[in-house]
Symmetry: C2
Subunit: 308 residues, 2 copies
């Protein structure tokens, strides 16, 4: 396992194995996340932050960031602090989303949610702590990247999580609950903001850190937007078709909460068809990168084939 | 009123009027804060963020940042995005601190708290939105400052609000409620983290933006730490001596909640004496800056003489 440093030569399509790639990158991310937070006084808050940050998951966001940075000629080392920050931000959004005043979830990734273990007050603060630490981590830990590029990444991160991104998507999502007249435009707004903006930032931040040209950055941004939407359509489909055990969270919640979903607008089969089409379009954006794009091509496919 | 740009010549002690200084700087900060957030779709979240951000207050944090940047030879324009970010972060901490799961306050600065107006879910998200926007704002809006200095400011900001700062202080504060055996060390930990870390960052970030020497930055840091602690002692004193009308928030809450305070440890008179001593020590740190430090000297005095 390469821990830091030099970019290996781009994987060739013939020898590339996605599960090995994911396992290696995930192990590196887990190690970096584990090292990112040390438990000191007051222990409870650091334990609460670590509890959710190290609760597993696919680490898809950090891996997208690392993979894009490598594709664009950068190293994993350059992107690792941002990759960790993306997972900290994602974790913060899950902790706050699970709160009684929000989705009121007891389980997440098969474990009790943060507030069920540490209490609501600590869960709110653990989210705040992770969010602020994410920015500190990128600013203080990024090495061998021109500072203006690091600032660009921070501006993107901030925008992706704030009212113009994740937070704005959650507000429209909350407003739409129980309403039966949600339009496709509103649903797409929710998803492009609630999950899409951060996924797009995973990819674009990797590109920025590597110093990619504007044209390539825009190409990678379109790739990310398409897989982000496909990811959400698949998520909606899984909520209907998967069991609770497979998901590690309460299944069928969308139906119970009468939430608008793509399957409820388009039907299950059409939803699957559109997700696959988005994946094809996303992959087509990567054509100019040749074999170097093999991991991102495979990651796009992985998203629609996952069962949880 | 100077809106942007050139640093005026340092005020001389003889002609300096603090209330004019505060009014001018506050007006500039209010204008910049007002312009920082435009209400777009989904309106509710931007309105919730603006509701608390523009709810008044002394704007002491941004003014400390602007004043330090000017003292150190920078311009107000260089520091204004950071000054706004400091107020966004402070506002976020108030919104989350007022939540039912935390202090459960209905009023703040004489107005209903954010969650009483917009609901708990939106209040949590408004805090998250302000916190992430603060970092985006510094990264994207700071002009005429070398990018590495902007990164240093972001790292300081993140540390000041996270588990190593404000959030950590709040955790110990929550743990100490109802306990009668709080030590002076624990109480000082609470305050140096809950309020002190951000106040220190106000001053130090202004110094960083202006490109101050390490020696002067450390001097200004000590100034800030001393006024931060004095600020908190005065806050504890006011909680006992001021009326609700003067404070614009529920008075006597510390006593009701059986919270440890400096007056409860030292008595009222000794608390006043120590606050004054800290202010003198803080002012002494500024001696090498001569007349340029007049605003910071006066601000230190202002903190102990305020009645709310």
């Amino acid at each position: 396992m390469v821990l830091t440093g030099e970019t290996p030569s781009p994987p060739s399509k013939s020898t590339f194995d996605l599960s090995t790639y994911l396992a290696e990158h995930k192990a590196e991310v887990e190690l970096a996340l584990d090292r990112s937070i040390t438990v000191i006084y007051p222990e409870k808050i650091y334990e609460a932050m670590r509890y959710s940050l190290l609760a597993g998951g696919k680490r898809l966001r950090p891996i997208l960031c690392l993979a894009t940075c490598e594709l664009a000629g950068g190293t994993r080392e350059m992107a690792m602090p941002t990759a960790c920050a993306l997972e900290m931000i994602h974790t913060m959004s899950l902790i706050h989303d699970d709160l009684p005043a929000m989705d009121n979830d007891d389980y997440r990734r098969g474990k009790l949610t943060n507030h069920k273990v540490y209490g609501e007050d600590i869960a709110i603060l653990a989210g705040d702590g992770l969010l602020s630490y994410a920015f500190e981590f990128v600013a203080a830990q990024t090495r061998n990247v021109p500072p203006q590029q690091v600032l660009d990444v921070i501006a993107h991160l901030g925008r992706a999580v704030g009212a113009a991104g994740l937070v704005g998507g959650q507000v429209v999502d909350i407003d739409s609950e129980g309403k039966t007249d949600i339009t496709e435009e509103q649903l797409t707004f929710i998803h492009t903001h609630k999950t899409g903006a951060l996924l797009e930032t995973c990819v674009v931040s990797g590109a920025i850190l590597a110093g990619t040209s504007t044209e390539n950055r825009e190409r990678l941004s379109r790739y990310a937007q398409k897989i982000g939407l496909a990811f959400q359509i698949v998520d909606d489909i899984l909520d209907i078709t998967a069991t609770q055990e497979e998901l590690g969270k309460t299944a069928g919640k969308d139906l119970t909460a009468q939430k608008a979903t793509y399957p409820s607008l388009w039907g299950l089969e059409e939803s699957k068809r559109r997700a696959n089409q988005l994946i094809s379009e996303a992959q087509a954006e990567l054509a100019p990168f040749g074999e170097a794009a093999t991991p991102l091509v495979a990651l796009a496919q992985f998203i629609t084939s996952r069962s949880n």
